[in-house]
Symmetry: C2
Subunit: 308 residues, 2 copies
């Protein structure tokens, strides 16, 4: 049996990395031969979780077909967020919690999506359905993903299932949810030693909306000004990347994880239309997004509606 | 709470009709307000099952947005197999066992696909996961779908899970699997009083392959000649429908349900290429497909590969 690769999306966040690890462990317990890999380097936040729970970061790959015929996707499904040669491998399973778009297979497959806050909340159900125990360190990684995706259960994407899963996993992992959660989120908010490119793209995805390609990055901070002080530098980088990659619109959503508010830095011809999506105007290249913390639930749907 | 509509694909077969009924019952038990509807009239086979298990055929709809904001899809996901105005409603759940293609949502949703032989095999799992008992008549309808989709457990699409589900459902429904199964399949093989259009389209679907639109119908018989005697009439109808609907290729897969063999009647410029997909040649507008009974597993994948 040849090896199956399992990976999350490009610019991996904590859920993309850890859901590959937790789903790969489950699949291997069920008799498959899989390896969790990643489509990019881990973030500071993910590194904190991996170190805390004694786990090595997955190997980074840039193509899959040279080493595997079959892959499983976690925490994404859209081709443009996946490995570059996704069209050359068979996707045999997907576990995800996003919209479905630009995803196509020739054959029937296993696809499990639920509208919950975190892929690992679904994976915990899969462990239970298959009667497999979650090891302590993997429980800690899964918990870290839920904390990361729901901003410590505060995001509107957080469901009762995510909350119950987080509590159960914290117990299994032997940590105190609130204290560990704050430490984890803070570990991901260091922006000072990051380049403009890193701020823009560490957690960024492309979204086709109508005929447009919209790039949306998100960065978590405890002090928004730390990033806004570098606005000119960021806009210059957004302009150059938009030209090189044909983005029609580039947003950087800067989220204060303690206050649960965001402001979006925007670049591109469509920026006024983007602001309208939120009943706002662009002010100095910024759109104020009060109460917005979720790209998936609070940013992508209104933008898709306005631009499609 | 407004009503949610649940439906299977156009040209509904027994699984498309009964999975809407069984999934709607489950959703209503879980507190949702749903109605099972259909995108076409039921076949003779489905009628036999509905009559046997005291159930009325679902109401036929031709559009959804005029009466519902949200829908759930069963036994299909591709837009061109769905209701005509699928782009005007929100798909909030899908339960399916086919490839995923031409399916797109703006929001996260519940999506449950597994590579098993029948949608109702998955729905039986959902009853169990939610702790809901399957009523006797619904068990009989679900069983009928498994028999229909797997040709009484003989199709290569039939998995161990389908077989176990069929046995369990036969028990719940109070019928003997083998005897009821043969009666059901035979009820669906009466071709004498059907028009050419009915033979072609009673169980037909469109498949985009590359830039081409391929129409594939399937008809179950106990005597292949009963259909082949009407070859000229069928080819004439295929020509006229291909012109009207812009099909690039039209196949009618004629399957002997007792022998588990098929022969395909083909029309269109691409027919030689279609034959090559099976390492065959077209002989008198026919391609012999020994051992082929499953459109999904044995017809669509090689054709997709050859034509894309």
């Amino acid at each position: 049996m040849s090896k199956l690769l399992i990976f999350g999306h490009q610019s991996p966040d904590t859920d993309a990395i850890t859901s590959a690890i937790s789903f790969s462990y489950l699949q291997n317990q069920l008799g498959k031969n899989t390896e969790a890999v990643a489509l990019g380097e881990v973030t500071d936040e993910t590194r904190y979780a991996l170190d805390f729970f004694n786990t090595k970061a997955p190997r980074v790959i840039s193509s899959a077909a040279d080493e595997a015929d079959e892959v499983m996707l976690v925490d994404h499904n859209e081709a443009q967020q996946s490995v570059s040669d996704i069209d050359k491998v068979d996707v045999v399973a997907v576990v995800d919690h996003h919209r479905i778009a630009n995803f196509q297979t020739a054959n029937p497959l296993y696809y499990r999506a639920e509208p919950v806050g975190c892929t690992n909340t679904i994976i915990l159900k899969l462990y239970k359905e298959n009667g497999i125990d979650v090891p302590k360190d993997i429980a800690g990684l899964m918990l870290s993903a839920i904390i990361s995706d729901t901003l410590l259960l505060k995001s509107p994407t957080c469901t009762a299932e995510d909350e119950a899963a987080a509590k159960e996993l914290a117990e299994l992992a032997g940590v105190e949810l609130e204290a560990y959660g704050k430490d984890l989120l803070k570990a991901g908010t260091n922006t000072a030693d990051k380049s403009a490119d890193q701020l823009l793209n560490s957690d960024a995805k492309n979204f086709p909306m109508g005929d447009l390609t919209v790039r949306i990055g998100q960065v978590n901070v405890v002090d928004v000004d730390e990033v806004l002080n570098r606005k000119d530098e960021l806009l210059e980088e957004m302009a150059s990347q938009s030209k090189a990659e044909d983005y029609d619109l580039f947003l950087l959503v800067i989220t204060n994880v303690l206050e649960s508010d965001s402001v979006a830095l925007v670049y591109g011809d469509q920026k006024a239309k983007a602001a309208e999506a939120f009943d706002k105007e662009v002010d100095n290249d910024l759109i104020l997004l009060e109460g917005v913390v979720s790209r998936k639930k609070q940013v992508v749907p209104p933008l898709t509606k306005a631009l499609s």
